[in-house]
Amino acid sequence: MTTRRRRRRASGRLAAALLLAATATACAPGPIVAPLRYEPIVLAPDEPFRARVPDSSPTMPAVSLPFRVVTLANGLRVAHLERRGLPIVAIRLIIERGAADVGAPVDTYAILAEMLDAGTLDRSGDQLSAVYARLGAARRSFFGQDGCGLSVKVGAESMDTAVALLAEAATRPRMSVVDFTNTRARWLADLANTGYARETSLRWSTRALLFGRAHAYGFARPALAHTQALRVEDIAALHARLFHPSQATLVVVGDATAEALDASVARWFGAWSGAAPPAPRASWPVPPIPGPRAVLIERKDRAHVDAMLFARGTAADEDLVAVEVLVRALGGLSSPLRGQVRNERGAAYAFGAFVVKMRAAFYAGIGGAFDPPKAMQSLDAILAGVRAVRAGGIMQDEVDRARSSLLADWRARVSTNDGLSDTATAALTAGQPLEAMAAYPARLQAVTAADVWRVAQRYFGEDALRVLVLGDGSLHWELAQRGFGALERWNGYGEPIAP
């Protein structure tokens, strides 16, 4: 065969292949949809009134939260707010003591939370679930460092039944060996996941970074041997220390009259024994911020780099609201920093800022999940933003927007029965009176630009800042260039790993 003939044949095959590919593409059945209108667009005519922006100035909500509080003979407080808008009632038993108060290790505490769903002396976990399901109830338990408890939301006509079930679960848990063994096995299986999953890895590491693993707020993973040595008696003992009427408040919000509620509570909680005064809350002095200033959690298979800047403080309450305003101004929806990082640089979808409030401390975080090539620039931008506020404060307009935004969140929260119960839980477990909730809008309004500048200098000093990054190991060098001193590598449980 001549070269020319071979070439002709080869080019013929190529053409056939291309034709085949083109035909296949043309015939690939795409979705059957209406065609888009690509013709010239006729814009809407302008109208003069559209040029005037309607009033967007902040407003002060007139929300009152008139809780009625009574105390039973056994010391249980009942805080009731009647709302008749919808036939719904949210009931929450709040224990104003948590793991930090009793020095409970994470495993014991977490297993207790699950054991409260595992049945009572009168019915198994399945039976309990079936009864709740028949009521159409939404229920959950919550276990934080400063408090814990159980909540249930039902239709108003089921209020008495729900109070009864809550009392049964809280005061007469089954605590069987079989349930305990299953619960422990499940918890250990879940634990294996938490060191790998992004959210839980960040949670373990944040607490360890800001408080140290020895501190009650450090949230340290217990040794496997510790969990394996636990017995159901340990869980029951922890339950007895925490679930005590004199350190509990039953918060009831919704469509329940005072008479009906008082009768129900007396019937179901009146026999809960233990009229002793509540145990004093543990004093956990917050130590100087420990350990490394920057930590890298290595993950090789992620398309994003998580980078967060943190600051931490002890809970000087008068400062906390100003810190919230500062953090919202830095990372809120309309903040210049968010606009720069997310919109102008296209560095992230998830970008934000938050404050976590605890009884003895708070911490604030600003950051997001970044496109890897833009992650370190974004961290630099966050640092620059914090330094700028520290050096010169923020504009009054930014203070106004941050306050309005926080107020909007608060208003949305307290407008629902569940949200108001959440807010009450936060106040009570932080050791604040219920009245503190209603005072929040006024306290927020009182924050000035000068306050924000002051707290920026007090809590966001260069030595107080910490950086946590979850991403590829190649970031190690880049992070080391940023003046945070020795960088540590941690695993997903907030534990240092050998170099």
């Binding site: 976990g125 399901a133 939301k153 089921s158």
Partner: protein, 480 residues
């Protein structure tokens, strides 16, 4: 054990004495509780609210639902367009347009929407894109209603004055980052898309996920964005719902002022679709770097509101609602072949998907879980007792009732009322939707739509080296 023992403070002798008194009290209490549970069957509560509705001259459907007891007002615009309207190769366009709606319009400089609404004290400020719809909403102090109507009308009528290459590229980057968050970096983030592509043939508008792909997002041009808005984003293809503390007459006058004179831009008629072919029984094997095996079983089911749709909502609760469904009892108790199981009927306008998801327990196999699921479904043949029906109905009833605490939820539900039918003068949040469904109807729906129908079973196998989002490794059809 007595309550006293838990207190840990009483001497043992005292505790015993209290135990006997406590036990007597306890028996009485249990009797009370039993009576309470048995008698707490709901007489469905009346939560009706008045609804004021009209169609403006621009074609916009306006629905106002006042609640004097509310502390705020929610404003929601639903455009009758979603990922189902994206031409091939432009997957993700509807979602990208949703992002661009926040970048400014003729009278709204870039990013001014967020600044103005934040300043005014808005919450729930967001947009959402599904297969069928695109929503924009905010909740504000009642005094700031006009601000929301002004800016929603501006982006409805004048978005294209502002959208340019810079805005497109900025939002494209944000959407690609969102894709990485929700798919690439999410454990099993790809699995939903793999199943969806198997359930719906390539010609069907639900074949792809609303988030699109990085490649399709990259190929979207400014001309495509402009054409999509020009085709679908007119007032004649939208519903404005206002709910909460609002004076209906004043709200209607404001809506007329801001939306009444916008050009209608009537949407095109969507082409008729062929009937979906019967689904063949298919196994998909997905590898992912995860720690647990998972099984997902999916069926194609009737569209939202069609016969069988609500019945399958009820069946989902009977099978795996709360912690006491049939499958929970079968799978999560000894020998405990799974650690969790859930069921849902995901209803959409063109077709729905009923899906069961189970995480396989250590030491067990996907096949064991699948067999248990088949046995759970077979139980429907024997019928459903009243207790199961009551549980399912109460779950749905209260789920809907609880959601109505939010003024935004009222607005969402009202906006979804069928376009073709008149808006009712009162609305109860569809609380009675499930009341009339009988056990026989649920049983028939399960028999016909699940037991006898084809399915797609996706088995997730932990695989070292595979991406955690999941990758399709094998596909086996067990029917020709």
């Amino acid at each position: 054990m007595s309550l006293a023992r838990f207190s840990g403070i009483l001497p043992e002798v005292s505790s015993e004495r209290r135990t006997s008194r406590g036990a007597a009290r306890h028996v009485v209490a249990l009797l009370f509780l039993l009576v309470a549970i048995v008698t707490s069957r709901r007489a469905y509560a009346d939560v009706n609210r008045p609804v004021h509705a009209r169609r403006l001259s621009s074609g916009l459907r306006l629905i106002v639902c006042p609640d004097p007891g509310s502390a705020d007002v929610s404003v929601l615009v639903r455009y009758n367009v979603g990922a189902r309207d994206e031409p091939g190769g432009l997957e993700g366009l509807a979602h990208l347009v949703e992002h661009l709606m926040f970048t400014g319009s003729r009278h709204l400089p870039p990013r001014e929407i967020e600044r103005l609404l934040t300043r005014a004290g808005a919450s729930n400020l967001n947009g959402e894109t599904s297969n069928d719809h695109t929503f924009y909403h905010e909740t504000l102090p009642p005094e700031r209603l006009e601000l929301a109507l002004w800016l929603e009308s501006d982006r409805m009528g004048y978005l294209l004055d502002r959208v340019d290459e810079a805005a497109l590229n900025s939002e494209r980057a944000a959407v690609i980052n969102e894709y990485r968050d929700r798919v690439t970096d999410m454990a099993l983030g790809e699995v939903g898309g793999i199943t969806q592509a198997e359930l719906f043939p390539s010609w069907h508008p639900y074949h792809h996920a609303p988030v699109g792909t990085i490649e399709s997002l990259a190929s979207i041009r400014l001309a495509d964005v402009r054409a999509f808005v020009n085709t679908w984003y007119g007032p004649a293809n939208a519903t404005l719902a206002i709910s909460g503390k609002v004076d209906p007459a004043a709200a209607m006058a404001l809506a007329e002022r801001y939306f009444g004179s916008l050009p209608a831009r009537a949407p095109p008629t969507r082409p008729a679709l062929p009937a979906l072919p019967a689904l063949k029984r298919t196994f998909l094997q997905v590898g992912a770097q995860v720690t647990r095996k998972e099984v997902r079983v999916a069926w194609l089911t009737p569209p939202l509101g069609a016969p069988g749709d609500a019945e399958l909502d009820v069946a989902a609760v009977i099978l795996a609602g709360g912690q006491s469904g049939w499958l929970q009892q079968r799978l999560l108790t000894a020998p405990r072949v799974a650690t969790s199981i859930s069921a849902a009927q995901r209803s959409s306008r063109l077709a729905s998907v009923f899906e069961l998801r189970a995480v396989v327990a250590e030491g067990h196999t996907e096949r064991e879980v699948f067999t248990a699921i088949e046995q759970g479904l077979a139980r429907f043949v024997g019928g459903i007792d009243e207790g199961d029906m009551l549980r399912a109905k109460m779950t749905w009833y209260n789920g809907k009732l609880f959601a109505l605490e939010s003024s935004l939820r009222w607005a969402v539900q009202l906006s979804l009322l069928p376009e073709a039918a008149p808006v009712p003068p009162v609305f109860d949040g569809e609380l009675g939707k499930y009341a009339a469904i009988s056990p026989a109807q649920v049983r028939a729906a399960v028999q016909q739509l699940l037991v006898r129908a084809g399915w797609v079973v996706t088995m997730v196998e932990p695989t070292r080296g595979a991406p955690s989002r999941g990758v399709l490794r094998a596909r086996v059809q067990v029917e020709p």
